[in-house]
């Protein structure tokens, strides 16, 4: 029997929303039961074995980021248990600690420090990162002047330099264009072997297809599909739509129905008129 590296059992999580600061204060300091709770995760259970590459699919608000935050240890679940068996690196933000007023080079050093890298190592790697991210010309300019996704390239390189047993990625694959996306994904593919486990949230289905072999569909805080990646994508496309999207589609359907009904009426009246004539 295989020994799972990530084991999640009946995890649930709620967030509390308050109508006013007064309510918030009453709950947080005095422990009173004010505000209302919204369940984000409901009895989520799954296991991931060593070497598996898993994509988490779900609409916005389905609980993917919350699940990633729980697994990376930044927030605590209300109930259930999880176990991580191995070294874990979680990439929750490719621009961790970045200051838009500072240059890319300075931000690289700040982020390296936050991640616990020795100064010497950051200096050694600096030039190769800049070249790989194609930022030679703008690296000493303030980050606020960078094109979209450029700063994230630097952060991603720093985040993925080490090769831990388990990697968690939350919305970390947007590098400012398909050309860069492909380049960075292929770099990550080369780094991952059969001993590395990957769990990532999927915001771009093609990125997931390149990296993942298994897909878990999370919908309204529950796992509703767990299987091969492509099947998960198919299931997701058919069964999971956000309320907003459903509402939009319903409005569009209603509109189309109304239009076709009107058209039919027109046809009928035209027919009638023909008959009348």
């Amino acid at each position: 029997m295989e020994n799972p590296v990530i084991s999640v059992s009946n995890i649930s999580k709620s967030y509390r929303y308050y109508k006013s600061n007064h309510q918030r204060l009453q709950h947080l300091i005095l422990g009173m039961n004010t505000g209302r709770t919204a369940k984000v995760l409901r009895d989520v259970s799954f296991e991931i074995n060593r070497g598996e590459k898993v994509g988490l699919l779900g609409v916005v608000g389905s609980g993917r980021t919350t699940l990633m935050e729980i697994l990376s240890g930044t927030i605590k679940p209300d109930g259930g248990k999880f176990r991580i068996n191995g070294d874990l690196t979680s990439v929750m933000d490719n621009r961790l600690g970045f200051d838009n007023g500072l240059s890319g080079r300075e931000n690289l050093h700040i982020m390296g420090t936050i991640l616990g890298w020795p100064e010497k190592t950051i200096s050694e790697k600096e030039q190769s990162y800049i070249e790989f991210a194609k930022l030679e010309k703008i690296i000493d300019q303030p980050v606020k002047l960078y094109p979209k996704g450029a700063a994230a390239r630097l952060g991603f390189l720093l985040n993925t330099e080490n090769r831990p047993d388990i990697m968690l990625f939350d919305d970390a694959f947007s590098f400012g264009g398909t050309k860069y996306d492909l380049k960075f994904i292929s770099r990550l593919q080369k780094k991952l072997d059969e001993n590395n486990t990957l769990l990532m949230t999927i915001s771009n289905i093609s990125v997931g297809r390149a990296l993942c072999d298994r897909g878990i569909v999370l919908h309204r805080g529950r796992i509703c599909f767990d299987g091969p990646y492509q099947e998960a994508v198919d299931y997701f496309k058919v069964n999971c739509k956000s309320r907003k999207k459903k509402k939009k589609e319903k409005t569009e359907d209603d509109l189309l129905n109304n239009l076709s009904a009107e058209k039919e009426n027109d046809n009928v009246s035209e027919d009638n008129s023909d008959v009348g004539i």
Partner: protein, 274 residues
């Protein structure tokens, strides 16, 4: 009751352990933030020191010329300027953190939410960032004192002790009000409102000893400021003023208990509520 005491001790131990374990990394982050603070101008470090020095000189002229008798301080063994700057160097360290400490969690929320740093180390970042400037300031004050004819004495050895007390006070202040500020933004407005009182009732600018001494010493900052003055200007041991030492210890203990209680209550939900 017993259970509460045990969990409080555990929380306290956790705070200490986190700070010891991550101290080298936090120290590097603080250095990096200091560099960041000064990176927008070519003479960054110079401006960090220039501002407090200008204040010291300005207050010297204002107090010595504008206030009759302000320079007459009983029992000092040094020029008035040395007495003034020895106290002001401590005040600048506290002043930066009275306002800057309580926003530490909001300013560094990425470290808590995205990087998973333990909560107790976050308030140490602004303290260490300001400590580096403070240490330069203290060395500067000692140099000025020597230039103006003050001879180094055995009492100077208490300066590191006062600095440690300042670090502890600033850390507890930043931690306690930082957590409260996350819960309610009113706390920050409250601190801004009482900040002038801390300054004017600390005896930084004038001698608090002759009259209404008890009122001044109710402010714990006075005790710390007088700590530096005891070493440099009065040639006495600051802990000899027993009743005030006890009072200051009580204030620190109360702050510590409130901090530990808040930490115990908020540590699991901090990343959600920032």
């Amino acid at each position: 009751m017993c259970y509460n005491a045990v969990t409080m001790v555990k929380a306290f131990r956790e705070i200490i352990q986190c700070n010891i374990r991550l101290f080298p990394r936090i120290f590097r982050i603080a250095k990096m933030y200091l560099k960041k603070k000064n990176s927008s101008s070519d003479l960054g470090w110079f401006w960090s020191l220039c501002k407090p020095l200008m204040y010291m000189v300005m207050f010297y002229f204002a107090m010595s010329m504008g206030f009759k008798g302000a320079k007459d301080i009983d029992g000092i063994d040094c020029p008035y300027f040395v007495w003034l700057i020895s106290g002001m160097s401590g005040w600048f360290f506290i002043s930066d953190l009275i306002g800057g400490g309580p926003v530490c969690f909001k300013q560094n929320k990425a470290l808590v939410i995205k990087a998973g740093y333990p909560i107790p180390v976050i308030p140490m970042i602004p303290v260490l960032t300001n400590l580096l400037i403070h240490l330069i300031m203290v060395i500067f004050v000692l140099c000025i004192a020597v230039i103006l004819g003050v001879r180094p004495s055995i009492y100077w050895v208490q300066i590191p002790l006062v600095t440690i007390l300042l670090i502890l006070f600033n850390y507890l202040w930043s931690f306690m009000f930082g957590m409260l500020n996350v819960v309610s933004a009113d706390i920050f407005d409250f601190i801004k409102a009482i900040r002038p009182a801390f300054f004017w009732l600390s005896g930084v600018l004038f001698d608090s000893r002759p009259r209404h001494r008890h009122i001044f010493l109710l402010n714990p900052i006075t005790y710390l400021i007088e700590g530096y003055r005891s070493a440099i200007a009065f040639n006495e041991w600051f802990w000899q003023r027993t009743i005030y030492t006890e009072y200051f210890a009580c204030v620190m203990l109360v702050m510590l208990i409130i901090t530990v209680l808040l930490y115990k209550r908020l540590k699991n939900i901090m990343a959600e509520i920032i």
